[in-house]
């Protein structure tokens, strides 16, 4: 049986997306990436282990010792206090991470598939379909995403947040907002790649559209997706919170949602009650901060212009050891053809443009 003999030189570990980038990064860039990863990690842990971490349920109003009481300041029993509705703030913040994660996953997954498909077809084939889709997506893209999400959530749930269909409703609302973004990115990539010599080469060879689209264009077009994924995740959280704040979120009995809690805390602030607003708000800020830090760092690392590199010791003898042509011949014995090992150096972009 013939085995696929594809030898990749990089070790397995560094082929896992983020691990490779962490190794590649240096200095402050590495610091920002690691900080982002740490915060995102905490968020994920909170979401997965919410039942174990949270002392109470998200809609629990009393325990064995009686009712929690409304607007109680932080105390040993309720370390972050209780809300105007009588819920435990800490528990709601922890449970809220589960809701946020669910919405992110559903919305991003839905929009990725729809957006990629439309973008690929539109960018590759061009023509009138492309023009129409571009105008539609540009129009939707330019429109305030929060307003669109509101309209969508009215459509989906009639503006009433029912049982946990609310999560789905919020996720789908956000999906509709995101599709144009994925569409734009993938379409732009498809248009760019379509003009690359290797696609033209496939066309000269006589490959059909399907083969070109999936074997050559799609695989190369999806490289930027991890980046958009992180950036959109943060936007999903903000949109969800915005919806919740305007009263289109999820009922407190259905799930915990940070934006809804902030809405309820609006009047608390005027009377100086800070804990009901502070903690859910901080949760939003931290998660968005973490995810965005990861996304921005990945972006910088993917762009050689923005990527930082380790400083080199002042040019000295020992550097020369590691210096020259990787894998090429140093001296040029034999034919002139041997000289072209030197061409490899050019690939580092040093000679050409430094």
């Amino acid at each position: 049986m013939p085995t696929v003999s594809v030898s990749r030189k990089r070790p397995l570990l560094s082929r896992i997306p983020v691990v490779h980038q962490v190794r590649q990064s240096v200095g402050l860039q590495r610091g920002m990436l690691l900080a982002g990863l740490a915060i995102t990690g905490i968020f994920l842990i909170a979401a997965f282990f919410a039942p174990a971490i949270a002392p109470y349920g998200f809609s629990q109003l009393h325990d064995a010792s009686g009712s929690f009481g409304a607007q109680q300041p932080p105390s040993p029993a309720h370390i972050w206090g209780t809300t105007v509705g009588g819920y435990d703030v800490f528990s709601r913040v922890v449970w809220g991470s589960q809701t946020a994660l669910g919405v992110i996953v559903v919305s991003v997954v839905l929009s990725i598939f729809a957006g990629i498909f439309l973008g690929l077809v539109s960018g590759y084939f061009g023509g009138w379909l492309d023009r129409v889709l571009v105008v539609v997506c540009d129009a939707v893209y330019a429109f305030p995403s929060l307003l669109l999400a509101i309209v969508m959530s009215i459509v989906i749930s009639g503006g009433q947040s029912k049982l946990w269909g609310g999560i789905l409703a919020a996720a789908i609302s956000i999906t509709v907002v995101f599709i144009p973004q994925y569409f734009r990115v993938i379409r732009a990539e498809a248009v760019r790649i379509k003009a690359e010599a290797y696609v033209e080469s496939a066309r000269v060879v006589g490959a059909g559209n399907g083969r070109i689209m999936f074997r050559h264009v799609l695989r190369n077009a999806t490289r930027t997706l991890p980046l958009i994924f992180t950036l959109n995740s943060s936007e999903a959280i903000l949109t969800l919170a915005g919806l919740g704040f305007l009263g289109f979120g999820i009922e407190p009995t259905a799930a915990s949602e940070w934006g809804y809690d902030l809405n309820k805390a609006l009047s608390d602030v005027t009377s100086g009650i800070w804990w009901t607003a502070l903690y859910p708000g901080l949760a939003i800020v931290l998660v968005v901060l973490g995810v965005t830090l990861v996304g921005e760092s990945l972006n910088d690392l993917a762009d050689p212009r923005l990527r930082g590199r380790r400083a080199v010791a002042k040019a000295s003898g020992d550097v020369a050891e590691t210096s020259v042509v990787p894998g090429g011949t140093l001296a040029a014995p034999g034919g002139v053809g041997e000289l072209e090992g030197a061409g490899l150096l050019g690939d580092d972009g040093i000679e050409v443009r430094s």
Partner: protein, 369 residues
């Protein structure tokens, strides 16, 4: 250096040189600015048409607005009478074309709950939103653009990292949370700024009596001639402007930083450096100005973010503008009003984007000539 040009050295004939790409670029720009403006203006119409249609069909796909608003409160018979009276029982397409016709004549419908024309809401509350957007754009420009240049100048050093985290924080903080925090600190704990509203009742009364009200409080305050009123209006504006402005400032900061770093690695910056131009001037003149063109285009898209943010900010600070009203109608489940206002906002967004694109074209000499 007093040499004169001798005959042999003067350029001879048309140089068959210009790289194909350059030639193509020149051809494209030869039509001039006027042509560009016309084409761009024509493009507004499909945008508005698409958004208005989208909103109409989405809002109506779940049923008629009367059932949505009064659903549980009236008997089915009463509902049917109301629906028939408003014409919501006709075929959807008939209603759609009627709606398009109305919008074409500038009629965005009448609210269900308080029977007000939507355009009336705009004239009433638009000025407040305009004022808020203006203040927050000032904050965003003052904070975002210089800091973006500073971050680009110190790229990958401590100051840059700090500024980037600041930018992400600006963006990561929902405006309503930023608003709540600002309120808590400055209005409740320090008690130096007002909690909410556009002006105190006294000032509003004074402005109400003016013969030529503009609705833009700052202008009206100056009209009253009382510095106390002006101060009062400005005090009320500080917190909302900062809350909304910082959100946009974070976006601007990142945008300016990335674009300036991008242009800093171009040849023409190196060329200017080789002429002995100082580093700071390189950032300020050579890198910033070319970076400005993509920046302005993106700023156009930020108008949408700003409007979305205005809804939340106005709700947080009870700033009686379009966003506050929209939230109010949402709460009242008055979807006729919501549909009208969203359609109206679509028109506003499309027109602002047009204006921003024209500004970008004016800055780019490749389009201007």
């Amino acid at each position: 250096m007093t040499t004169t040009v001798t005959g042999a050295k003067a350029p001879t004939g048309p140089e068959p040189s210009a790289p194909a790409s350059a030639r193509r670029r020149r051809r494209r720009s030869s039509g001039g600015l006027a042509r560009y403006i016309v084409i761009r203006a024509v493009l507004i119409l499909p945008t508005i048409f698409i958004l208005v249609s989208l909103v109409f069909f989405l809002m109506r796909s779940t049923g008629d607005p009367i059932t949505a608003a009064l659903g549980g409160r009236l008997t089915p018979d009463q509902l049917a009478v109301r629906i028939h009276a408003a014409g919501y029982d006709r075929p959807l397409l008939v209603q759609y074309f009627e709606y398009l016709g109305q919008i074409f004549t500038g009629n965005f419908g009448t609210t269900l709950s308080d029977n007000q024309p939507v355009t009336e809401i705009l004239t009433h509350y638009g000025s407040a939103t305009l004022e808020l957007a203006f203040y927050s754009l000032i904050v965003a420009f003052i904070v975002g653009i210089p800091l973006g240049m500073v971050a680009a100048y110190f790229r990958d050093r401590g100051r840059d990292a700090a500024l980037r985290v600041f930018a992400i924080l600006c963006y990561a903080t929902p405006v309503f949370f930023a608003g709540l925090l600002l309120k808590l600190i400055f209005s409740i704990w320090l008690d130096v700024l007002p909690v909410a509203g556009r002006a105190s009742t006294g000032s509003e009364l004074q402005m109400e009596l003016l013969p030529h009200k503009t609705g833009i409080y700052l202008i009206d305050a100056f009209q009253t001639g009382s510095m106390a009123v002006v101060g009062d209006v400005l005090q009320h504006a500080v917190l909302p402007a900062v809350a909304l402005g910082l959100l946009t400032a974070g976006v601007f900061l990142r945008l300016v930083r990335t674009n300036v770093i991008g242009t800093l690695s171009t040849d023409y910056v190196d060329a200017a450096r080789s002429r002995g131009v100082g580093e700071f001037r390189l950032v300020r003149k050579h890198a910033y100005r070319p970076a400005l063109i993509p920046i302005i285009t993106v700023i156009g898209l930020q108008i949408a973010l700003l409007l979305g943010g205005a809804v939340l900010t106005e709700t947080t600070f009870e700033w009686k503008g379009l966003g506050f009203e929209l939230a109010h109608y949402l709460q009242a489940r008055d979807f006729v009003a919501v549909q009208g206002m969203v359609a109206l906002l679509a028109v506003i967004v499309a027109v602002t984007n047009f204006v921003v694109d024209i500004i970008a074209a004016l800055i780019d000499p490749r389009v201007r000539y």
